[in-house]
């Protein structure tokens, strides 16, 4: 196994993973903070290290459409976007998922206007929650590299055949520099495998894509996608385990548990904030507090069974949401609550809205969240639907 560790930018880690997986077609339109990924890929085109087709298009809508056509045309396909760009793609993403096209996307998380801002939160990819695509959130540059390689395997599995979006926080991950262990293109290619489409637009075997459905068939299409999501749960774990066998890395399957065995309070979070929470958990453990962490890696499919197994003995779950369903509260926490509603044994579930529009979440903030959580646990009752962490009260 040839491997090298070097300090590189997050966007480079993604671009390198994509190049190694060798998609036949890549299409992109620029938007901060996705830009570095597609700039690096453009460099690969210019220096001949990526030999597939790179299509510069007129909008994110067209980027999503180009990879839709490419995937249906029988090519492995990739694109990346952020924020408003992901929203502009949204119509096509529903279509690609329902057409069961195994496209891989990077969703570089950035907040949504207005007010306009380029800072990270999870509102953009949350808006794509119900498209039918698989969404996997990553925590580190290493995981971003690993997850993109795994994504093609998951998407292209015959029992799955769904698009996969790797969600990674803009700036915090895309523009950060960390040591990343990379493997030779040959080894990555071997892991991902040659792309053999199950079916494609082939004059020798003409088929109709994007057909018209009457009312006796449409819900059935969606039901088949639900089944594919169930299959994807197994596949995500399987691919993560195989990856560990081959490359030695394990970033978690559907979730990743940290010091949860005897934890009374478990923090649930997604994305780069997970690393901060992990460090805070260590510090809190040192002071004798029974705190643990569950990193949600796979947001869709949502790992209900794994979350129940990891969290059922806790007193309270503190869910950190970087996105918002107005009036209802956090989006992740709603899914966690739903997960436990019909369970006999269920912890209290408290919602913390944090990091919206790039508001900082450092270890101190996490510890404050845990302190609030302890208070709620002591009371034995969750009184507030959601706690907005570090609101600037002078402004409102």
């Amino acid at each position: 196994m040839k491997e090298r560790i070097s300090v590189i930018e997050g966007s480079m880690a993604v671009a390198e993973a994509i190049r190694a997986c060798n998609p036949g077609v890549i299409s992109a339109y620029p938007i901060s903070p996705q830009t570095h990924i597609v700039e690096y890929i453009s460099d690969f085109v210019a220096d001949g290290t990526y030999k597939g087709r790179f299509v510069r298009v007129d909008s994110e809508f067209s980027a999503a459409s180009a990879v839709h056509g490419a995937s249906a045309g029988g090519a492995r396909a990739y694109t990346a976007s952020s924020s408003q760009g992901l929203l502009l793609m949204c119509e096509v993403l529903y279509n690609s998922a329902s057409t069961r096209l195994p496209i891989v996307y990077t969703g570089v998380n950035r907040t949504i206007s207005a007010p306009i801002s380029i800072q990270p939160d999870h509102q953009d990819t949350m808006a794509l929650r119900d498209t039918g695509m698989i969404q996997i959130h990553v925590e580190s540059l290493q995981e971003a590299y690993d997850a993109h390689i795994q994504a093609f395997r998951i998407a292209e599995d015959e029992d799955v055949l769904l698009p996969v979006m790797i969600c990674m926080d803009g700036w915090t991950l895309t523009h950060a520099f960390e040591p990343v262990k990379r493997f030779s293109d040959k080894d990555v290619k071997e892991f991902v495998g040659e792309y053999k489409p199950v079916q494609f637009l082939n004059p020798k075997n003409p088929i109709t894509y994007g057909a018209f459905a009457d009312e006796d068939k449409l819900m059935e299409f969606k039901y088949l996608m639900v089944q594919a999501h169930e299959k994807a749960k197994e596949k995500i774990v399987e691919v993560a385990s195989e990856y560990k066998e081959k490359f030695g890395h394990y970033d978690g399957g559907l979730i990743d548990e940290y010091r949860t065995e005897d934890a009374e309070i478990i923090v649930l979070a997604m994305g780069s904030v997970v690393s901060t929470v992990r460090a805070a958990v260590d510090e809190l453990r040192e002071s004798g507090k029974k705190v643990g962490l569950v990193k949600i890696r796979s947001f869709r499919p949502f790992p209900k069974e794994a979350i129940i197994k990891a969290c059922k003995n806790a007193k309270l779950l503190a869910v950190i949401d970087k996105s918002l369903s107005l009036d209802v509260g956090g989006i992740l926490v709603s899914d966690v609550k739903t997960t436990f509603y019909n369970e006999d044994k269920k912890p209290l579930i408290a919602s913390f809205i944090a990091g919206i529009g790039g508001k900082e979440i450092n270890r101190k903030v996490v510890k404050d969240i845990v302190a609030d959580a302890e208070e709620i646990a002591q009371k034995g009752k969750v009184e507030k639907d959601s706690i907005f962490v570090n609101l600037n009260t002078q402004f409102i």
């Binding site: 087709r53 299509v55 909008s59 056509g69 045309g73 029988g74 096509v92 894509y209 057909a211």
Partner: protein
């Protein structure tokens, strides 16, 4: 030559009786042959040709959403290119006038600007017919639609038809042509020519809609022919930016002859005196076409 030509667009589809679109599509596929991938936008054609298990398409066909057929076509083309396209498979987009002029205009402009090797064919029935005859950018001056009805304060559509061919030409498209279902040989020849061109090609074919325009279902071809003979819809070809071929007329018929046989213009004739300026203006537009494209055969 006794071999029966296999049609690549099967009958039994759900088009309205008298629809001009399947007539055009059958000819288009006659010209492309089977070594093609067809991309369509949402619209009449998609709806009537693609019910699950009842697809009329005997060639690989894809529809995604309303406004992205040009870029889906690009994607299909690039998938072929990524494998070297050993069989030289062609990519053709067949889309309605709403998708072309309005909602998919940005995507089309992107495709034409990139010069992707796609033949884009707009089937032009001059309104959003699939949703019930609403005005599109291709709806002609004076026509009523369900969103530009005539009334005390309205004479119908108050703008002229968008000139997509000119816009395509401005993108540097090497082959731009118009055609009509009244001359299918001409359409087939143009499709073949469009396929030969390296890079993007654009063809706009007039496909009458008896439902939306208001005429008897037996008259689809006749009305299309009248559009040509009156100068309403000039038939021409541009190669490398030069006008190289025009369908000549011995004499130009009056626009009125075309307008008066369709219910969408009926209101203009209810009070010809009141609507004189509109009728004159439409006639003037057709005369301009005749002059601009040199339509009259010299005697």
């Amino acid at each position: 030559m006794t071999e029966t030509k296999k049609t690549l667009f099967a009958s039994g589809h759900r088009a309205c009786p008298g629809c001009g679109v399947p007539i055009a599509v059958r000819s288009i596929l006659n010209a492309t042959g089977s070594n093609v991938v067809v991309v369509s936008s949402t619209g009449c054609l998609e709806t009537f040709s693609s019910p699950i298990d009842l697809s009329s398409w005997e060639v690989p066909w894809i529809h995604s959403v309303f406004e992205n057929a040009p870029t889906v076509a690009t994607g299909v083309l690039e998938a072929l290119n990524s494998k070297g396209n050993p069989n030289n498979t062609k990519v053709v987009a067949i889309c309605g006038d709403g998708a072309t002029n309005d909602i998919g205009f940005g995507a089309l402009s992107g495709m034409l600007e990139r010069g992707d090797d796609v033949l884009y064919i707009c089937y032009d029935n001059e309104a959003y017919m699939n949703t019930g005859v609403q005005t599109s950018g291709a709806t002609p001056y004076g026509a009523t639609t369900t969103t530009s009805p005539s009334g005390e304060y309205s004479f119908g559509r108050d703008r002229t038809k968008k000139d997509l061919c000119r816009i395509a030409l401005e993108h540097g498209v090497k082959y731009v042509a118009t055609a009509s279902i009244s001359d299918l040989k001409d359409l087939e020849r143009k499709v073949k020519k469009g396929l030969e061109v390296e890079g993007s090609a654009y063809i706009q074919v007039l496909t009458t809609c008896n439902i939306g325009w208001g005429f008897d279902s037996s008259r689809a071809v006749e009305v299309a022919r009248l559009a040509v003979e009156t100068g309403v819809f000039p038939i021409y070809e541009y190669e490398n930016g030069e006008l190289t071929n025009v369908k000549k007329l011995k004499e130009k018929k009056a626009a009125k002859e075309y307008l008066s046989c369709q219910k969408r213009y009926k209101h203009l004739f209810a009070d010809e005196e009141k609507n004189k300026e509109h009728l004159d203006y439409i006639e003037q537009l057709t005369v301009q076409n005749v002059t601009k494209y040199g339509i009259l055969a010299s005697k």
